[in-house]
Amino acid sequence: MVAQMIEGWNLVIGIEIHAQVNSKSKLFSSSPTDFGSKPNSQVSLIDAAMPGMLPVINKFCIEQAVKSGIGLNAKINKKSIFDRKNYFYQDLPQGYQISQYKDPIVGEGFVEIETENGQKKIGVERLHLEQDAGKSLHDQDPNFTFVDLNRSGIALMEIVSKPDMNSPEEAVEYVRKVRSILRYLGTCDGNMEQGSLRADVNVSVNKPGNELGTRCEIKNLNSFKFIHAAIVYEAKRQIRLIEQGDSVNQETRLFNTQSGETRSMRSKEDAHDYRYFPDPDLLPLTLDDDWIKGLQDSIPELPDQIKERLINEYSLSSYDANIIVSDKATSEYFEDVVKNRNPKLVTTWVTGELFSILNKKNLIIEDSPITSKQLGELVDNIENGKISNRQAKEVLEEMCESGKGALEIIDEKGLSQISNENEIESLVDNVLNSNPENVKKYKNGKDKLFGFFVGEAMKLSKGKANPKIVNDLIKKKLSQ
């Protein structure tokens, strides 16, 4: 659909991600950062910009920014400067946002994403620290806007990509990857619903070989679905304009999550003039080599490295490994289960059966009703032949409903599979002896009857016989 619409056009996308630092207190004040608190209950005199208040920076936030920079394969700047970004808005009490302009804490880096055409490197331009603004509620009253300053001053990392993405899918993959890296590092919780991670997307279109088109920026997208939908809509809109002979205006646009459309928020002429200048309340931030080295040594294994290890250690396919490492909790869960078990079987049960149950119940893996230990027990019983795959699905569902262990359910339901060869042999003998005609026909070349014998034997065992042993025995007996 998208490819058709865009055929003959280049799509160029750059993204700014705002990721909330996973800190207990704000960037320049000691107010808490808890989500969902009573309005204006987490506002210090600094956050409210009372006269004479001075900002003091949170050491933890500096560490998280540098860690994130390392995770994004980026250059760490040993000297960075805080600037004032001036604009007037009701949820910005200072009248300026403390941000970093010319000298950010983190410089150029990159992340690798999976695309239809294989791996692709997406450049990161920079990462800087800045304050979040307060929250304005426009829909509470027809005549007034309500302002909550709880978010005011919370630390954000703004991660700016290079315009290296060329499809909505690549854009989504990029945001997914950055989010996943930050979550592995623990520097941002990545909760998009609560606004801990949101994206501004720059989109332009041009004909191959022509110079870049005029871009529009779509603000504040807080889900992968919206990022995709906003880019598709925006690209179509721009192509339509150009094909009609009109031109695209450089502007900031808002995405309406209800209608799936973007609409103009402000044009280039009305663009803010931020009048940046160094914040005289804050000295330059300097980092020393030993301190950076210490952080480098503390970086945990990141998704790309884990993926490589899973492929080498367990012979997983790149596709399966990707699914497993896309989320820290999933990879931890998987590694718990796979220890000393059959990797292929475990992959199927984690990414297939467990995921489908979680999806149905709309749960994330952290809230899985089945622990990794419990799933391991189930897999053990498949591996040792006690139950078949089909029975295991039934057991898994029951485990999910009752919270009981796999063995308990298997015993209760009398599900355990018959794997005793002697027992199965007598079943098979029984079937063959009571169908002498069919045995004769089979031996005369009617191969199709093989399935009939297996079916009869399974029926006789009430579905409990291990199908593989049944197959093997029938084959053996009929060839005698």
Binding site: K24, S25, S31, I57, F144, V147, P280, L283
Partner: protein, 95 residues
Amino acid sequence: MEFDKKSLLKLGKLARISISDDKLNNLSKDLNSILEFVDQLKEIKTDQVDPTSNSLNQKLEVRDDKVDTKNSAEDILENAPEKEMDFFVVPKVIE
């Protein structure tokens, strides 16, 4: 640096302050005299000096990530001209 009326109106717009025509002349004169005064700083050669450098060779002070709630919503809203349900209330803002 000369501050003309056009720049003054732009500055007013950015700060959301309306400036009436009759005040424009005086305001422009006042601002220009302030700028002239400050302009004396330009006589000092600073091309070899980094912005925000200081003579004390100090480093940026940092603090630990500890929560300290000093005031309640009631405290912070005490001076608000308009408030409701613990929110600041301002004239409708349309984006």
